[in-house]
């Protein structure tokens, strides 16, 4: 059987196809988060009204305490928990490589967000991505912002 599967290389037909679904989707309860990014260039996390845990990405309730969270404006500063440089990957990102990805903990929050650190060619080394490396948020210009997670990125806070 192992052999058979290897040997059998008859002629076969190949076709182009695609699977596609389109959306006009609602971001639901996250509307405030995305609106603040788009309209005001501000980052908001949330904080549990009971245990005080800071969520970023924000969630409107604490899954540990089962109580609501409240919105908290962030300073936009934080630090790297762990980072990597991606040099191979997803088809719709091949023209953007290398991409620097890191878990970044915002100063006011208790969890890290996985986001992009924009680095110059010189900066783009693992040694610049050490734990504790300070980073700060940078928003795209207002006219380019759509209210999405891609409206901002991080840079080294030197």
């Amino acid at each position: 059987m192992a052999d058979r599967a290897n040997e059998e290389h008859e002629e076969f037909l190949e076709y182009y196809d695609e699977m596609t679904i389109h959306y006009l989707y609602s971001v639901g309860e996250l509307t405030k988060f995305f609106k603040e990014i788009r309209d005001n260039g501000k980052l908001f996390g949330t904080r549990c009204t009971k245990c005080g845990f800071g969520y970023f990405p924000p969630r409107l309730n604490c899954h540990k305490c089962y109580v609501p969270c409240e919105w908290v404006e962030l300073s936009g500063k934080g630090e790297v928990i762990a980072g990597t440089i991606c040099r191979f990957g997803v088809s719709n990102f091949t023209d953007k490589l290398p991409i620097t990805i890191a878990f970044i903990k915002m100063d006011e929050m208790d969890m890290a967000i996985r986001h992009t650190i924009l680095m110059s060619e010189d900066e783009c080394k693992l040694e610049n991505l050490k734990r504790g490396t300070r980073v700060k948020v940078q928003f795209k210009p207002k006219e380019q912002r759509e209210g999405r997670i891609t409206d901002f990125y991080f840079v080294l806070d030197k």
Binding site: L30, G83, I85, C86, V90, S91, M111, I149
Partner: protein
């Protein structure tokens, strides 16, 4: 006291980059045919089926299980599909175990299949980047996918955190895992990537997601694997006829961590692995796994992840996993050989089939039929992991009486 459940049949369909002459359902059929032969049963003896199929995008078909169910002759019987990323195979075995132990079915087929390399990017004319894009939809589509979701990045970040916490594993230790697993695959007809490599070869391969290099990563495959699980009474009957030894499932554990790795307070520990393995060992009555287990198949999508798993499965203290590879403990002939089949790195990763294939290797070891046989193996361990930042984990202990 739960009902006892045994594995009474195994089979696999070779893991290859592509099987262009096979639809996924024909691969499933051939694999079913072989597992029935192994157990000396016909399809009419099977009560129910659990399917491990990860990604509808791979099969170019939503609900591919219903097509397989028909095609292999299971019409009018129950069938349930499991889809939990790279842990799909492990969770499929766990679900099949539940079905038998619950008393709903006596004889259950557990079949994993995946056909990933029909994906194709019209811009680059390449298959892998489009396949990886199909996977990227398993990352959070609001917060993670739009920024670029790379499976290697997802698994390297805990390794990076580990390196910063403990100063290891080094790139050399990771390379040793690559050499071991590619080497173990040599001679395995089901393996996609058997290779005799040197540490240098691995270190020289190009970076994928730093510090993971090409030879630190498994490749995606097309393939299939199957098992038949049976209740104690049925297992004894079936094995009497087939002449095979029943292999008992004595421990089952599972735990899913947050897919947002940033929520974890110790990123350097794959906590889903900790939870699943402890639960599994507790059920199996195992307190010192490295002493009590004879053989293990760990989910090694990436070399560094295998090393972290040594620690999180309790084979080594935190920060000391690298010693197991550096000191040869997990090599063939070592105290606890890991991935004698070649693992994902040596065999390839036919996602929904992978965990089940790992299971067939453990069964072969316990039956005494393996290619790289551990002498007199009695207890084996299967570890199946998947999802963003190893979110899903299932562990299973198997034993021969």
């Amino acid at each position: 006291m739960p009902n006892r459940v045994a594995i009474v049949g195994i089979s696999a369909f070779p893991f290859r980059v592509r099987h262009p002459n096979y639809t996924y359902y024909r691969m499933a059929y051939e694999t079913t045919k072989k597992v029935l032969e192994d157990a000396n049963l016909t399809i009419h003896d099977i009560d129910s089926a659990i399917y491990g199929i990860y990604n509808d995008f791979f099969e170019r078909q939503f609900m591919p299980d219903i097509i397989v169910h028909d095609y292999i002759g299971m019409i009018l019987k129950p069938g349930t599909r499991v889809t939990t990323g790279g842990a799909t195979g492990g969770y499929a075995i766990r679900t099949a175990y539940m079905e038998v132990a619950s008393g709903l079915s006596d004889v259950v087929l557990c079949l994993g299949v995946e056909k990933s390399n029909d994906c194709w990017d019209p811009v680059t004319k390449a298959r892998t980047p489009e396949l990886v894009k199909a996977i990227s939809y398993s990352a959070d589509c609001e917060f993670v996918r739009p920024l670029g979701s790379f499976p290697a990045a997802s698994y390297v970040l805990p390794v990076r955190a580990h390196i910063e916490e403990f100063g290891n594993p080094s790139e050399e230790s990771m390379a040793r895992v690559s050499v071991k697993n590619h080497g173990n695959a040599v001679g395995n007809p089901y393996a996609q990537s058997p290779m005799k490599l040197t540490i240098e070869d691995v270190l020289k391969s190009r970076y994928i997601s730093e510090p993971f290099k090409k030879l630190d990563c498994c490749l995606y495959s097309e393939g299939a694997a199957a098992m038949i699980l049976a209740s104690e009474k049925k297992a004894k009957e079936i094995c009497k006829n087939s002449g095979k030894e029943p292999i008992w499932i004595t421990g089952v554990g599972a735990g899913n961590d947050s897919n947002f790795g940033g929520l974890r307070q110790k990123l350097w520990s794959l906590t889903s692995n900790v939870y699943a393995s402890r639960q599994c060992f507790k059920m199996a009555g195992i307190t010192n796994p490295i002493k009590e287990l004879d053989v293990a198949e760990l989910h090694d999508a990436f070399t560094g992840q295998e090393i972290l798993s040594y620690e999180d499965c309790g084979f080594a203290k935190h920060g000391e996993g690298y010693k197991l590879i550096d000191e040869g403990i997990v090599e063939e002939g070592g105290e606890l050989p890991v991935n004698l089949s070649g693992g994902l790195i040596g065999c390839g990763h036919a996602v929904g089939a992978t965990g089940i294939y790992q299971g067939t290797e453990i069964v072969r070891q316990l039956r005494g039929e393996a290619i790289r046989q551990v002498p007199d193996a009695i207890k084996g361990f299967l570890h199946s992991v998947g999802g963003p930042v190893t979110a899903y984990c299932v562990c299973i202990v198997m034993e021969r009486s």
